[in-house]
């Protein structure tokens, strides 16, 4: 791992109208590293990703720091112009919805070519188009030439998602963010897509931030994982360690609930009691304390994400006791 991370997020805080949505999130992704960001719906994964990309809705306020290698300024508070130079060039993103994320009235080849033309990485339209066809081959689209001339509606969901990936990879970005890129796909298609993302980033040495709520997908794709709950990072570490020896009760709960083979004596799945509160309704202190079986008075205070050797958790009563 190089000393200079491809993506470094420090103390990211996001709020809307005084309600904190994401608080004190810090993490780094090294070049070539694949990091998963997991958590239930509403935990703030997408917000974090869009904050990095500078695509936050207007009403959301951001503070903290976001840095991308090869860019000499902080992305928090950067202007649209500055972002425009970085997006699609230094960092790129694949969104969840393959159905709506492509312009319905433009041929997909042109949509890929555009990202190269915008950043001037290809001299002219013809070259960019040829490069697009190339990319289609790289993302394993059958008959890339024909596909390039198709409109999005003529492609299947999996094919469209590959087009999205081609767009993201077109300029060999340092950072690739994928926000639930396979949730809308069939399992068989999903498997192929995940494989593709993995190899593509490996080949290019791209730093990958992979967002999903599916733990298995993370386990398949990533090396390191960040667990988010209530707008905070509650645990981080190498996938294997976190998934085999979780320290935060929330991570533990997630793992238990996803395992359909692990059942109690009555044949029932294990669950996390209660439900995720809405934005702004999380308790003060430890955000998980109202659902935590181990919560105590101490939990009214915010636990820091204690990071030791890449392994961290934010809990007063970690699973397996304090080290």
């Amino acid at each position: 791992m190089s000393a200079d991370p491809a993506l470094a997020v420090e103390g990211l805080e996001l709020s809307v109208g005084g309600i904190g949505l994401v608080g004190g999130v810090s993490f780094a992704v090294a070049a070539g590293e694949r990091v998963g960001l997991i958590g239930e719906s509403g935990s703030g994964k997408s917000l974090t990703a869009t904050a990095v990309m500078g695509l936050l809705p207007e009403e959301v306020r951001a503070s903290g720091s976001v840095r991308v290698s090869g860019v000499d300024h902080d992305l928090v508070g950067a202007s649209e112009k500055q972002f425009a130079r970085i997006r699609g060039r230094r960092m790129a993103m694949v969104f969840q919805e393959p159905m709506t994320a492509l312009n319905p009235s433009m041929r997909v080849g042109d949509q890929v070519a555009e990202v190269m033309l915008v950043h001037g990485t290809r001299p002219d339209k013809a070259t960019a188009r040829a490069a697009a066809v190339d990319l289609f081959g790289q993302v394993r689209l059958p008959e890339p030439r024909e596909i390039a001339r198709a409109y999005p509606h003529q492609l299947s969901g999996g094919q469209r998602q590959r087009v999205m990936l081609a767009i993201a990879l077109a300029n060999d970005p340092a950072v690739l963010i994928c926000d639930e890129p396979t949730t809308a796909l069939d399992v068989t298609v999903q498997a192929r897509m995940l494989e593709l993302i993995r190899t593509a980033t490996e080949e290019r040495g791209t730093a990958l931030l992979f967002i999903t709520h599916d733990l298995a997908v993370v386990a398949q794709t990533c090396e390191r994982v960040l667990v988010m709950y209530g707008g905070r990072l509650v645990e981080s570490g190498p996938v294997r360690e976190v998934f085999t020896a979780p320290r935060h009760p929330y991570t533990r709960g997630l793992l238990d609930a996803s395992d359909l083979e692990a059942v109690d004596e009555r044949g029932r799945l294990r669950t996390i009691p209660g439900a995720v509160p809405g934005a702004g309704d999380f308790p003060g202190g430890c955000v998980f304390r109202n659902r935590c079986t181990d919560a105590s008075g101490q939990c009214a205070e915010v636990p820091d994400l204690s990071e030791v050797d890449d392994r961290g958790f934010a809990c007063w009563h970690p699973v397996g006791g304090r080290a």
């Binding site: 719906s41 969840q96 639930e180 949730t183």
Partner: protein, 278 residues
């Protein structure tokens, strides 16, 4: 990924719209109890007086108090809207729901006829109605109402199609609900927002139509005060007494603005696309 609900707080346009419409309603109601002067009393001696304490907006060429006419005219304006929108909504909405729920060919047929009515000049309808039943506000507005039916039918149909595609309608059907019950219990409440929005916009259009018809001489009968007729009567005096046109003109514009803003505000509140973001 789950749907997240963002309930919007009432927008400023809703409040401004409500305020303006409320003003029209209150003025109309007060006019039943009190007006500064008899709005139809002709008095040669009072002709074309400028604004004064006694005549807030002055008098017209018949010596009638403009303020009083404006107040009673508010009634006409509301009446116009209620009749036109009433006809259009009461006929158009069920028609649209029917067109969406009926067998395909029948629905198609209804919509084709609907398109035809849409293509038909509303003005001609108003003139014919006026000639047959006597020109007055009511007949003119029935005509405008009929001409507005298609837009309600369209909105109602597309809204209904949307509702019929939802799983809660499937659920209702598997619960054993009849078609009519589904139309009444599920479809109508859920397209209600759309219909209300359309109503307030149509209200505005009806007010403008009444003004235009009165301008052409097919609208409200004299001497019943109506903003449109006041405007028409003021025309030849425009250069001499612009006040006579400005007062009803501003009243129409403000009322229409009010209804439009109200419609926008309601749309913001009711449009399911804005309410639920996925």
């Amino acid at each position: 990924m789950t749907a997240m609900t963002v309930r919007r707080s009432a927008s400023p346009s809703l409040w401004v719209g409500l305020g303006l419409v409320g003003m029209v309603v209150v003025t109309a109601l007060v006019s039943f109890l009190w007006t500064p002067h008899d709005p139809t009393l002709v008095d040669a001696a009072q002709r074309l007086r400028g604004p004064s304490g006694d005549n807030l907006f002055g008098t017209d060429k018949f010596g009638r108090d403009l303020a009083s006419q404006l107040m009673v005219g508010a009634r006409t304006t509301l009446f116009v809207g209620v009749v036109a929108v009433g006809v259009a909504a009461l006929v158009g909405t069920p028609l649209g729901v029917f067109a969406a729920m009926a067998p395909r060919w029948l629905g198609e047929l209804v919509m084709r006829v609907n398109d035809l009515v849409l293509a038909f000049p509303a003005l001609l309808l108003a003139i014919v109605f006026g000639a047959v039943f006597g020109a007055d506000t009511f007949t003119a507005m029935i005509a405008i109402g009929i001409a507005t039916v298609p837009s309600f039918a369209r909105i109602a149909r597309s809204g209904t199609l949307g509702v019929l595609n939802t799983e809660y309608v499937l659920a209702a059907r598997s619960a054993g609900r009849s078609r009519t019950a589904i139309a009444v219990r599920h479809v109508l409440p859920n397209i209600g927002g759309l219909v209300i929005v359309q109503s307030s916009v149509s209200f505005a259009i009806a007010v403008l139509s009444e003004a235009a018809l009165s301008f052409l001489g097919f609208g409200t009968r004299p001497p019943t005060p109506s903003w449109g007729r006041m405007l028409q009567e003021s025309q030849e005096l425009l250069a001499v007494e612009p006040r006579l046109a400005l007062v009803p003109g501003a009243a129409i514009a403000l009322a229409v603005l009010g209804f439009n803003l109200l419609g926008d505000g309601l749309r913001d509140r009711y449009d399911p696309r804005l309410e639920v973001r996925r």
